[in-house]
């Protein structure tokens, strides 16, 4: 299968599944960019914010962004799996966190007002 492969230029496409370092960042810097071979990636949510600029510049032609990206991909290929199953739990967890943040801020402002009063 790798008979006539000498280096990255012999590939038509690069895909990087990344969960840390070295990962997508290194593949973009030392793989995709120097060779010009089209590249895309799937990363954990933690990395998305740093990788997204590469998509906007065209250094990555696409990105599976964390679990939501994986769920979108499962839907695209009509093969529901653990990512789609996990989205309900993740959405619920996000709502809980947002409620906690709102309550925390409300408590902070109420305490601040009370302290000012007395």
């Amino acid at each position: 299968m790798m008979d006539e492969i000498q280096n990255l230029n012999d590939f038509a496409y690069i895909y990087s599944g990344s969960a840390g370092y070295p990962g997508t960042f290194e593949w973009v810097k030392y793989g995709g960019d120097p060779t010009g071979v089209p590249m895309s990636s799937g990363t954990t949510s933690v990395q998305v914010n740093e990788v997204i600029p590469y998509v906007q510049t065209g250094q990555l032609i696409g990105l599976l962004a964390g679990m939501p990206g994986a769920a979108e991909y499962e839907k695209l290929i009509a093969s529901p799996g653990i990512a789609i199953q996990g989205m309900a739990a993740q959405s619920f967890a996000h709502i809980v966190i947002v409620i906690f943040i709102v309550f925390g801020n409300l408590a902070f402002f109420i305490k601040q007002r009370r302290d000012r009063k007395y």
């Binding site: 810097k29 954990t44 949510s45 933690v46 906007q56 964390g66 679990m67 739990a89 967890a93 966190i97």
Partner: protein
């Protein structure tokens, strides 16, 4: 289900629940899981580095089949040809290992200096090319060519590019300390802070999302290991941890 799969599942359930037990308080189960994690991580990285890097790439090139050192009996066949240049990384690596001896620890500086210099050179090129030049090039768009729509929620547009331009300049100006940040300049840099805050907020949101995904993954496994296929591993391990933790807390009441 094989014995090794069931045994592995029980160990995984024990380590996961051991880490979760920190929610109660610092305890021996948490300590065990933490130490096992650190130890295995270090050992795994060392083993992977040796068997996928040093063994095939270094030994494979210094001691290939029918190489000049074949008479020593050391031959590693990875379809590489002998390359004398690989003696340098071998010597530098050995010099770094000698740092454990007080009288030879100066030798480690050579290896470290070489590694740091190579890493700095490679990183400088990668960062400059991918994170600076390509980003600047992509930011330099002709706003008034008429080829872009004025507003678009999901794609490239004149409005989005103006926001990008103002956000980039105001954020950079926030880190310009040669001029006092007062008056109009101060207001502009304050705008930069807001852009930075939005960026940090997005990072935080994605980080939370990532951690929640990991938590969902652990719960998925725990649910799977609680099935009859794994002899109800999660239940028994949880019961064991609760009983021992209860006993441990009872014995350490004064703490």
């Amino acid at each position: 289900m094989t014995f090794s799969a069931i045994f592995g599942a029980w160990i995984a359930a024990f380590l996961t629940l051991g880490i979760f037990s920190y929610l109660y308080k610092d305890n021996p189960f948490y300590k065990i899981a933490e130490h096992v994690f650190v130890g295995i991580s270090a050992a795994y990285v060392a083993a992977i580095s040796f068997w996928t890097q040093i063994y095939p790439n270094l030994f494979g090139r210094l001691f290939p089949n029918d190489g000049p050192f074949s008479f020593t009996g050391l031959e590693f066949d990875f379809n590489h040809e002998f390359n004398i240049l690989y003696l340098f990384p071998l010597i530098l690596g050995l010099m770094m290992l000698l740092s454990v001896f007080q009288q030879f620890n100066w030798m480690a500086r050579w290896g470290i200096a070489y590694t740091v210099a190579i890493a700095a050179g490679l990183k400088a090129f990668g960062y400059l090319n991918s994170n600076v030049l390509n980003q600047v090039k992509a930011s330099s768009v002709d706003l008034f060519s008429g080829s872009l729509p004025f507003f678009s929620l999901g794609g490239d547009s004149v409005f989005n590019n103006i926001v990008l331009l103002i956000g980039t300049i105001s954020s950079l100006m926030y880190f310009y300390f040669s001029k006092e940040q007062t008056g109009n300049f101060g207001r502009f840099t304050r705008l930069g802070i807001y852009f930075l805050m939005v960026s940090f907020g997005a990072s935080f949101g994605f980080a939370v999302m990532g951690r929640i995904s990991l938590l969902i993954g652990r719960f998925n496994d725990l649910i799977e290991y609680s099935s009859v296929d794994y002899n109800y591993g999660t239940f028994y391990v949880l019961l064991f941890i609760i009983i021992v933790l209860g006993f441990w807390s009872f014995k350490n009441r004064e703490k």
